[in-house]
């Protein structure tokens, strides 16, 4: 919200405050190249999980949101039902709807263009776009990051999958640790306060505790319930405190009479 206000109203952002296009492109390329290259890890993991080259590349081309892709191949490799596996991947992708909500205000795209821009609405493009000071810079940052990432992510996915087939046993190379490391790297910046840490801890307990007893893929979905559970518990506590406050207020008023 604050960024959006600053974008249109902040004084001094005019000719003098505008960020040069070259600087925006440099930021966007930095993110796009670094993350785009990690498509290699996805290609290797996916091929190592037993997906064909075509399936691996289809995922990067069509799904194009890394966490969901890693989650899907992990669930399929563990022998999960395809719909259970897809559900886990889908829930991870839901956050992109909220990115889109913020981006649509910043980008102000014509309705006809939105279906084409939608595929690029992901963590990295949002991060770069939100950091820009003007609408021109937002659009440039979003486009350059999106294009760089899309091209590189798909190229490196292909290379990774081909490479994995060439080297054979990917586990011997430690490549089965790439998936969880990617998840950890995505998770770490989200653990800012106690609520998030409690949700993460509860999800780990549920995910590991239910693993031996529920069908593959299902424990992750149950672990997702940690989010509404913790929110509900916190809401109850907050309401409880309010009720106490209201009660105390009522008692004090009674006393005052």
């Amino acid at each position: 919200m604050t960024e959006q206000t600053a974008l249109s109203d902040a004084p001094g952002i005019g000719d003098t405050g505008a960020k040069p296009d070259a600087a925006v492109v440099r930021d966007a390329l930095g993110v796009g190249v670094a993350v785009g290259l990690s498509g290699f890890a996805f290609g290797v993991t996916s091929a190592g999980s037993g997906l064909t080259l075509a399936q691996t590349c289809a995922l990067s081309l069509l799904v194009f949101t890394g966490a969901s892709q890693f989650a899907l191949v992990g669930a399929l490799a563990a022998g999960g039902n395809p719909l259970t596996a897809a559900a886990g991947a889908f829930f991870l992708g839901v956050r992109n709807a909220f990115y889109g909500l913020r981006l649509s205000q910043l980008l102000a795209l014509p309705r006809a263009v939105r279906p084409f821009a939608a595929q690029w609405v992901i963590d990295e493009t949002t991060a770069v776009a939100l950091a820009q000071p003007t609408r021109r810079a937002v659009r440039l940052g979003f486009t350059v990051t999106g294009l760089t990432l899309y091209v590189l992510w798909n190229l490196t996915t292909l290379l990774g999958a081909v490479g994995a087939e060439a080297i054979g046993d990917t586990d011997a190379w430690g490549l089965d640790a790439a998936g969880p490391a990617v998840f950890l790297a995505l998770l770490a910046p989200m653990l800012k306060n106690t609520t998030e840490r409690v949700v993460a801890a509860l999800a780990v307990l549920l995910g590991l505790g239910l693993l031996p007893v529920l069908p593959a893929g299902v424990p992750v979905l149950v672990a997702a319930l940690a989010a509404p559970l913790v929110l509900w518990a916190r809401g109850r506590r907050a309401r409880g405190a309010e009720d106490d406050g209201a009660l105390r207020g009522a008692v004090e008023r009674e006393d005052g009479r």
Partner: protein
């Protein structure tokens, strides 16, 4: 075939939510509870996935070279290493521990 079904469902679902965000009027999803839940959902999923892919072997829990690799990734994250280096640390340490027979 079932893999293609999973890919198809995931692709359609993930594209739909991306487009939804761009199309719905601002404010429709802006209720605080919905926003909080949307922010916390990936935290729960990523935490559970990290733990499972580190310690699960099929439906059994095991402690193997992957745990050392993911621990190395955690250290790299604490040292604010870039994304690729974090993943590389996990892969190299896991391979190393395995090569030593761990």
């Amino acid at each position: 075939m079932s893999v293609w079904i999973a890919i198809g469902v995931t692709a359609v679902g993930c594209y739909a939510v991306k487009l939804l965000g761009l199309l719905v009027p601002a404010g429709a999803l802006e209720r605080p509870l919905v926003r909080r839940l949307a922010a916390l959902l990936p935290v729960a999923l990523l935490a559970a996935l990290t733990a499972q892919q580190t310690f699960a072997d099929g439906q059994e829990l095991v402690l193997d070279a992957r745990a050392a690799g993911v621990a190395a990734a955690a250290v790299a994250l604490l040292l604010r290493a870039p994304f690729l280096l974090v993943v590389a640390a996990a892969v190299v340490v896991t391979a190393g521990v395995r090569a030593m027979g761990g």
